[in-house]
Amino acid sequence: MEIKVLGPGCAKCKKAEELVKQVVDEAKVEATVEKVTDLMQIAGYGVFGTPAIVINGEVKCVGKIPTKQEVLNWINS
């Protein structure tokens, strides 16, 4: 599984990244977590706000830090 956290480096984006990494660790799933900070790449996903989370190329959430449960649901489905 390929998880991308999109965000230019603001506080919320860092929090989102930490959260995703933590959930991936705890759920013991095979996944790479990558932080995307390049604005053009972020815009390439068509997101109009950050932090945004993209899992296997699909935009899962935009403009907010997801809850732990939400991340868990995305990973497991």
């Binding site: 965000g7 604005l39 815009a43 996903y45 068509g46 997101v47 706000g49 950050t50 945004a52």
Partner: protein
């Protein structure tokens, strides 16, 4: 052990050592500048933090949580009419630009996926100048006249600059797809009148609590001034009722806060700041224990406070150290400021536009800096020029923008900002 890695800390320590060794303590100009810096921080803490900044943070937080950003962003998408996109982009900063997380990604998004270069530029330019926090602080510290000029200037020039950019770069518009993802709604939708009343009373608390003492002891302004705490209290009560009726706060909590605040107001009528603080401390408590939505409101407000307040007070100290309080001198002699940016000459406006365009200001710190400069003899035209060119652009910002729209467009954009800021400064200086 690699000695090479140690070179940097060594350099820093040597630099600090020499700075400390030759520290000009005891020299009047330096000591005085330190005092000025501390005095200015004290003045901000006494006059502006509790009555102005705290409510402003609550309002900014509420905008992020209770106003649907989606509804606005929809007009910035690829399908939107150009003219609508321009208008929305030029004013939407007031509700969208509350956080640095928003401005740049949204700018890149509008440019590549949305309404295109012009509206993206319009948003980028006006956003930082008309975010609710900067409007409030500019008007409070520098006066309503320059506060309004800044907002109006930013909005109108953002449309002009965006339009010119699109005209100049007609050919190479980026390729777009209609697929965009808007931020999710964080709150349940409410009828519009409820949202309007909610913000109306919150803003009314802010405005009347900060009502300045007019020079004349008569007339409407004086009447409002003498009644300011009564009007503030009435607004606060109305706000409390709205919170209970529509925003799921519990009546007994709001009632308790009202009683405690009223008690402080009765016991210490000369120090209204205590009753006021009791009110917002109570509000924080009630909101953080009344459901998820109100909780996010408190969290968002706290987030702004955490991000902005320390930097702002640091900026205030630096401004005081360099330039002194209004009427006093800091480390920089007043004549220097007056020579460079005094009056309303073309050079003064042009110079402050260029400085503003390249210099980096942390959020809101442009306000104490301009205050210091004005106190040291900067003209009001150049002040506006600096306020218009300053927060929209900085050297680090130019590099980020360049990664999105390329070198050529960035250069043209920066030039347009400098030219427009100079012109508007000169016009404002003449009025």
């Amino acid at each position: 052990m690699s000695w090479k890695d140690e070179l940097k800390p060594l350099g820093i320590i040597i630099a600090v050592f020499f700075a400390a060794f030759f520290l000009p303590v005891g020299i009047y100009r330096f000591d005085n500048a330190l005092t000025e810096g501390l005095e200015l921080v004290k003045w901000y803490a006494q006059e502006h933090v509790l009555l102005c900044l705290v409510p402003a943070f609550f309002i900014a937080g509420a905008i992020g949580v209770f106003i649907s950003q989606n509804a606005v962003m929809r007009y910035l998408g690829a399908g939107a009419k150009k003219i609508v996109a321009y208008l929305v982009a030029s004013v939407s900063g007031i509700i969208l630009a509350v956080c640095s997380c928003t401005i740049l990604p949204l700018f890149a998004g509008i440019y590549t996926r949305g309404a295109g270069l012009g509206p993206a530029i319009a948003f980028l330019y006006s956003g930082p100048a008309i975010s609710v926090l900067s409007i409030i602080l500019t008007a409070r510290i520098l006066g309503p006249e320059i506060g309004i000029a800044r907002a109006v200037g930013a909005v109108s020039f953002s449309v002009i600059i965006g339009f010119l950019m699109e005209l100049i770069f007609k050919k190479d518009e980026a390729e777009r797809s209609a697929q965009i993802h808007l931020p999710e709604e964080s709150s349940t939708p409410r009828p519009l009148y409820q949202t309007i009343l909610y913000f109306f009373f919150m803003i009314s608390i802010l405005v009347f609590a900060n009502w300045g003492k007019p020079d004349l002891q008569q007339g409407v302004w004086w009447t409002v001034f003498s009644l300011k705490w009564i009007i503030t209290s009435v607004s606060a009560v109305a706000f409390g009722v709205i919170l209970v009726l529509w925003y799921s706060h519990q009546a007994w909590k709001i009632g308790l806060i009202a009683v405690v605040s009223a008690m402080f107001a009765y016991m210490l009528p000369t120090v209204p700041i205590i009753a006021f603080s009791a009110g917002f401390i109570g509000l924080t408590w009630s909101a953080s224990t009344s459901g998820e939505e109100n909780g996010s409101w408190v969290y968002a407000s706290w987030d702004f406070t955490k991000q902005i307040l320390p930097l702002l007070l640091m900026g205030v100290f630096i401004a005081g150290f360099l330039l002194g309080r209004p009427g006093n001198e800091g480390i920089i002699p007043n004549e220097w400021v007056a020579t460079l940016v005094g009056g309303n000459s073309f050079f003064a406006n042009f110079f402050s536009s260029i400085v503003g365009a390249f210099m980096y200001f942390a959020t809101l710190t442009e306000v104490p800096i301009v205050q210091g400069l004005m106190g040291s003899g900067m003209g009001k035209g150049p002040s506006l020029a600096l306020l218009l060119a300053g927060p929209a652009l900085s050297l680090p910002n130019m590099l980020v923008i360049r990664s999105v729209i390329g070198t050529k467009k960035t250069v043209v954009f920066s030039l347009l900002v400098i030219i427009m800021a100079t012109i508007s400064g000169m016009i404002f200086g003449m009025i």
